[in-house]
Subunit: 132 residues, 6 copies
């Protein structure tokens, strides 16, 4: 199995519901460094998995509606705690749609799975992976 | 599949038996930066995989009996070479027991697998992963 | 010149005044990974610059009033844009006071300068350094 | 499953055929930091997966024919775009042959799979993994 | 003293003249991860050292003529070995000119010094710093 | 001012005298990732600060007597706590002697200062710098 990973980041505010979260129930924020890994069983005739330029653009397009925002006020997250785990899931969904919608070009059809990893600090991160 | 990873570290002395180890047969030491990855197929109603505070505490509790020690003198490792690989396996066992013993709270029951990765330097690391 | 550096982090929300900031005028947030470097011309009789445990505690104490908070609502930052540069300056002031106030123990008297560096992402950081 | 990873790097020139590559069609270059991960279901009686010295040597031997070279002129890559993905595949093949050829010693027989990951920058990398 | 650092990278081919360079006399290449540090004694009324957007743009503008190129064929480097050290010096000159030419906006006038650091691998880097 | 940095590492056992050290009074160990920075005001006619191969060799030669050893038993450290700070100082002395002794070749005469930084973990490091 091949994989190609591109990296971007977002800077967001949010808060959590649930006493398990302790001080993180207060409005706070995070830089999430986002690693998007595209997996495919084969490369094309040019030895590409996906066009890395399109992959970066697709990731940026998925992240833009979140970047420099307070996620507590975004309709896309209404009723959801925007934990690092959930943001991975959310971004995975957006990237999967981008693949299926042709926004990664014809290579997108070869993508068998995507893994999205978000680093919230140097000592904690979460990920979500699933086949397309 | 979701995952959540927390990071801690230990500073230990040890030596190895077996001429394959060359100079590492002498008493020496290592900083092991420990990444503990918890995997689960789903999140709870708060969008948590496990409580990150409990995960950090559980990892610290597993590492404490090793930290700032000479592993050659620890009963837990009697008759074992404490290679990076074996320490991954050992810590995995301790974390799995913590999950099963309820020390990660009710979320622990959702943990399907754990991966423990130990970085021994910037150019070498080992890992052990297994389902619970 | 000797130096000793310890690392911690904070997760905060904030917004900026001034159109130079573009989308960062919206309420957003950041993880700041904080590196506090203590400099001294000599070590003590035990070969210590400062007690690393006290240094970590002092840094945590300086960061705690900011951590998991919306800096726009904190009195300490009233009328100030909490840019990464300014946060470095602010934390520097708090650490310098900790040194002078004896919270780093007797070694604090040897600290000639402090440098505070805040990483806001993998591709941007700021720092402030000054003698005590 | 256990794994052991060693790291090395190469500095190469190359160019790509295909307009998808845009400016990368020009002769340019890259530092590839190479992570070679060896996987095995069990350790030996010394708690080793593979001899880390032999693993480093095997990796260096696989990389040497590429290092400090223009890949466009290397017979091993004739007719191939030397994308990061393809280089992972190529190095995987060489390491797999090293395992099977006994160059990792008797432990090589336990290696069930190899994953080769090449970092081309701080924001992009590729990998190839396959069983032996 | 305050500082603000932004990061970008280039992927270049080149070769070196001089037998000291050994195998690096052959045409090869490198990814240089470039850290540009701007230093100033004070911040403006918005608590900015320089506008980070302008700083990133200025760095990209300085790097663009080198990116995805064979430096052996670039007039800007005629008769020069493009060592990591020299590239730091070259980029420093270009950034200093950008500051003085107003391309960092009015904040550029406050920049007292610039440090340019190029990482050629995970185990080697060079830097050049000088006042403006 | 130019600088060139090379990286290596050592894995050592040691213990500390003095109750300030708490649990670190026990025999334990560390991986120290060592960054050696050579500074010079100018480059040679080939645009080199020092020959990077000689710099790596000199660093390895300085580190070899410590690597895979128990520093408590090494004559070079008799009566000294081998804190990270002191090890920086010790290695600085050895590298300075290497420069002055010609082991970095003729370029060594241009080296104006050396900085040695030792990372003991991902969250703590020390350094020592001084002119030659």
């Amino acid at each position: 199995m091949f994989s190609l990973t591109v990296v971007d980041h977002i800077m967001v505010a949010h808060s959590f519901r649930g006493e398990e979260f302790g001080p993180a129930q207060r409005l706070h924020g995070a830089t999430f460094v986002v690693e998007a890994e595209f997996r495919a069983a084969k490369l094309d005739h040019l030895n590409l998995l996906v066009d890395i330029g399109l992959a970066k653009d697709a990731l940026r397009t998925c992240l833009a509606p979140m970047d420099y925002r307070n996620l507590d006020e975004e309709a896309a997250f209404a009723g959801q705690n925007t934990t690092t785990e959930h943001l991975c899931f959310h971004i995975h969904g957006a990237l999967a749609a981008a693949c299926k919608g042709g926004r990664l070009g014809p290579h997108g059809a070869n993508v068998a799975a995507i893994r999205v990893l978000l680093r919230e600090s140097h000592i904690a991160w979460a990920a979500y992976e699933a086949p397309l």
